[in-house]
Symmetry: C2
């Protein structure tokens, strides 16, 4: 437990969060809701998807605690609840050192390739100017 | 595309990464591999799980690019490939402001509760000492 009263993600909650995020439509819905709440009709429009299909995705998101639904019976606007995203980020953060090390290795390889390419060009130029000499 | 040649996660790749992460055994396998490569036998041991069950999980992780398998035909050691975790973190990072704002609101509520609690105690103390006065 953290001392400041933040809820710590249980394995079940992380399962539900990652399952919810494993779909491009659901990720797009979250991206849309990041700029404000929206009704199912409003959400269905840009996706060229039926409202029942969107509703199914909203149920998965709601079960994962990633959205809440308003009480207005007509609109039932969906609202992003970002906390599970914070918990998922926290889990991933513990691997940051590892993937940053990967990126650094990749950078080193790219630098190496650039140096090789420069050397190749330099020696080609030297050969050309040697041939031009009388 | 980022200018430095890092691979940018395609939606499919993010789907595969989040699907792979949506299981507690697979997350535990990644945690184990973070400290070094391991064979299926070594991985199966702490999980009280059959080797075929572990192998199934490894296949999901391998398909997501989260592990690679060694060539040694006997051991085929699994090795963590952290880059997809970096891509998943990047996706989640764009929501950081939102969940940090949530945490700040929660902090504010907790502070409010603490102040209320202190006021309640102080007034109780004042009432008590008032009663004690002759």
């Amino acid at each position: 437990m953290q001392p400041n009263g933040y809820e710590v993600a249980t394995p079940d909650r992380l399962d539900a969060t990652f399952t919810a995020l494993a779909d491009p439509t659901r990720r797009a819905i979250l991206a849309r809701l990041a700029s404000g709440e929206a009704s199912v009709t409003e959400l269905a429009e840009p996706f060229a998807m039926s409202q029942p299909a969107i509703s199914k995705h909203l149920k998965v998101l709601e079960r994962a605690g990633l959205i809440s639904r308003g009480r207005d019976a007509q609109r039932r606007p969906s609202r992003l609840e970002a906390q599970p995203l914070g918990e998922a980020t926290e889990w991933l953060e513990s691997y940051r050192e590892l993937w940053e090390a990967n990126y650094q290795r990749l950078d080193a390889v790219l630098d190496e390739l650039k140096i090789d390419e420069k050397k190749r060009k330099d020696s080609k130029r030297r050969r050309k100017s040697a041939m031009k000499r009388p």
